[in-house]
């Protein structure tokens, strides 16, 4: 107990006030009333926060209740024997003794379902991707017209890309006069958050290039990154190995979000 802890010191020397327990009990008993009062009277953001808190509490409670119920049910369903109270447990219909469990029947069903799944996968083809269909993007959504030039403002114009775009490190700009598309520096991406679907883990990886933009080959060429775009990412950090034992460093991933709206690129690795 440090020297400055006057409250604790006082409690040790003189104890708590005589009705402390009583007051505590009453305060606890009053708690639901207080919550009810707040639920009735609060408005605006405070009400929102309060309700959210209440909702969380209830979910917690329900989950706990469910777990408890499950536990009890399991105990009740336990094959034969006696439970803690010494009562005989009911035997459920179709129950098997332990030595018959884990037999062929169940395994066969599992195998069957697995093979069906495999077949479906095969049918889908090699290029099935997590996002097979995306909304096509029109030109005027992707490009914005920018007037350029000093003297003849009416005649000269360029197109500015309004979506995120990937521009490789080795890209060399043309002279501004011949540059037809502007890809603004503020909208460029270098890295993507790539999720490995089997590992269920996400990594921030370098983008190597844009493989295909579903909206058109021109966008692929420009390196526009929109939802559904297939990008090539550098997976050397993950340490993936091919069947022949070589380290894989480039892999494709599909973009799953709208980068221009979220500010980041999220992608799923295609395995």
């Amino acid at each position: 107990m440090p020297q400055g802890d006057y409250i604790e010191l006082h409690r040790r020397r003189h104890g708590r006030r005589l009705d402390h327990e009583e007051r505590l009990r009453k305060r606890e008993a009053r708690e639901p009333r207080r919550i009810a009062e707040r639920s009735r009277t609060l408005t605006g953001i405070r009400a929102k926060l309060h309700n959210r808190e209440r909702f969380r509490d209830k979910v917690r409670l329900r989950k706990a209740a469910a777990v408890q119920a499950q536990r009890q049910a399991r105990r009740r369903q336990g094959a034969g024997g006696r439970d803690e109270d010494g009562e005989e447990r009911r035997v459920v219909e179709g129950a098997l003794p332990a030595y018959l469990l884990d037999r062929e029947e169940t395994q066969r069903a599992k195998i069957l379902s697995n093979t069906i799944k495999e077949k479906r996968k095969e049918k889908g083809g090699k290029w099935s991707v997590p996002l097979p269909r995306v909304r096509p993007l029109a030109d005027d959504e992707i490009f914005r017209v920018v007037r350029t030039g000093k003297k003849s403002k009416k005649r000269e114009w360029k197109r500015m890309v309004t979506k995120m775009s990937f521009v490789g490190d080795s890209y060399t700009r043309k002279p501004p006069k011949y540059e037809r598309f502007i890809r603004p520096m503020g909208l460029r991406v270098k890295r993507a958050n790539v999720t490995h679907p089997e590992l269920k883990a996400t990594f921030s990886l370098d983008i190597i290039g844009v493989k295909k933009n579903p909206s058109g080959p021109m966008y692929t060429q420009l390196g526009v990154v929109t939802r559904g775009t297939i990008v090539e990412v550098n997976v050397s950090e993950l340490g993936l190995v091919t069947t022949s034992g070589k380290v894989v460093w480039g892999k494709y991933a599909q973009v799953t979000n709208n980068p221009e709206v979220d500010g980041t690129v999220n992608a799923v690795l295609l395995v």
Partner: protein
Amino acid sequence: MVVANLKAIQRVPEAADLLDIVLSQTQRKTPTVVHKGYPIQRIRAFYMRKVRYAQSTFHERLSRILSDFPVVDDVHPFYGDLINVLYDRDHYKLALGQVHRARSLMDAVARDYVRLLKYADSLYRAKSLKRAALGRMGTMAKRLAPCLAYLEQVRQHMARLPSIDPNTRTLLVAGAPNVGKSSFLNSVTRADVDVQPYAFTTQSLFVGHMDYHYLRWQVIDTPGVLDRELEQRNTIEMQAITALAHLRAAVLFFVDPSEQCGYPMAQQLRLFHSLRPLFGDKPLLLVCNKVDLGWEHTLDAETWRAVEAAAADTGAELMKMSATGDADRESVYAVRNRACERLLEVRVSQRMTQRRSDAVLNRLHVAMPPQTRPPVIPESVWAARQAQREAGAAAAAVPPPRLTEKQREEQMGGAGVYSMDWRKLYDLRESEWRYDIMPEVVDGKNLADYVDADILERLDALERDEEARLAALEAREGMETEEGEEEQRRARAIVRAATERRILRQRRAARERSQNPSVPPARLRSRSVSSRGPARRHPPGVGVPRSLQTASRPPTAAVALRQVHGVRDMKQAAKARRLFEQSRRKAFASREHRQGEWDRFIAVKKPKHLYAGKMSLGTRHHR
């Protein structure tokens, strides 16, 4: 320095609270209404402001945490080590480091999103970007949760640490558990420390303050230390070790030869030897406590010899004491005084050896007074005394002391019977005036209204002035020449003009008085003759009231100037004056007080153009 800062650290909010604070503050302090139809620049600015505001609020909050908590390397090594012992230096530094990292990450995120917002082309996109930005900052804040919780606990503990000043005069009490360290602190200072008959009652450093030699001293009570390896010592013991290592204090090492504490004497001495490197060259006292239990008679000689040897080895002073035994606590104060003296000696000698002291000593000059300083008695007093001594030897009559008015009152019959005579103390020109009767009211008039204290002086001054002028005139008449005559004529003209002017002025004054008298005219006052008669006869030194004296006063220079300013000669001035008077008289002649040029004049009360017709754009002439 640091001591104050430890107490002043502000509360560290929990991560969820921090998020709530920042988000609700952003909501409250930034505009909340935006519409799709607004120009896109305005929409962008609206959301950029929100992102920036949230970022700056986070930044501010986290910066305050970083600046509040002391940096381990910057504080006094005593506090640095104490932080290490109590909170684990690595953990502490990591927590602060994470807060710092989160802050810079938040700044980077906000910068990125503000840049992206510049390219937002719709409200939806801008709003989504803002949402993403706040969400990412919020995630970072949530990840700080364990750090913030830890820092809050540290803050609470730090605020309760005793404020120990590492540089001041300090007595440090150390020893094995239960040897009476806290009892000593309680008896020397007013610190109300817990004393219990079991080991490790004191679990942290305690501080008390006392006065010795008109100086403030702090006494630090440390938890008991066990005789074991440094690595095995626990947090409680390590606090004592930290204090011993870093504070330049007088160390009082307590031992209990009665062995009532549960540790044999040999063990206690081993502890003393093992702590020896920490004592360094600090003044050290080996205090044998609990004399009142009578161990002096029962202790075997060998043990006592060992104690003496230990003291001699380390240069410690051996003292016996009883912290609770004797009523007047002589032994306690003896120990305390000895420790204080030794520390003072060391500190002063250290001061003197430091180079800084030279700078002060060079400037100091202590003036020593001459050996004898006889009292200075003035010649006159000396002579008077001498004379008195000569005369008084025979007469031996000392003049009675002056009776005070109070004493006189007592003699003459006390209060109520004797009334004190104040008049004899009046300081007047003639002493016989003291008892003159001074009426306050004469004939129903307040005499004070008629008193003019300096009338005689002014009369004197006037007479002197007149004499001087006459003398000057005579002197000029003495030198009778042509020029003199001319001169004389001119002078006479001036005098005449002045006289005329004075007469004019007097008349005017009389007129004005009659028109606007400061005293009501005679016919309006009481008509009794008796009341009017004697008022004219003023006693000497008591003149007419000031208000009636205006005519006899010389005109001020400003008025005189204004009357002759801009006119050719006296004649013209007089004419101008006359015309002015006439015009004024005309204006005030009749009782109706007709309108004059100085009256406010409004020709038309309701001008038609302001009240007629309807107003349309551009037709307003007046507002």
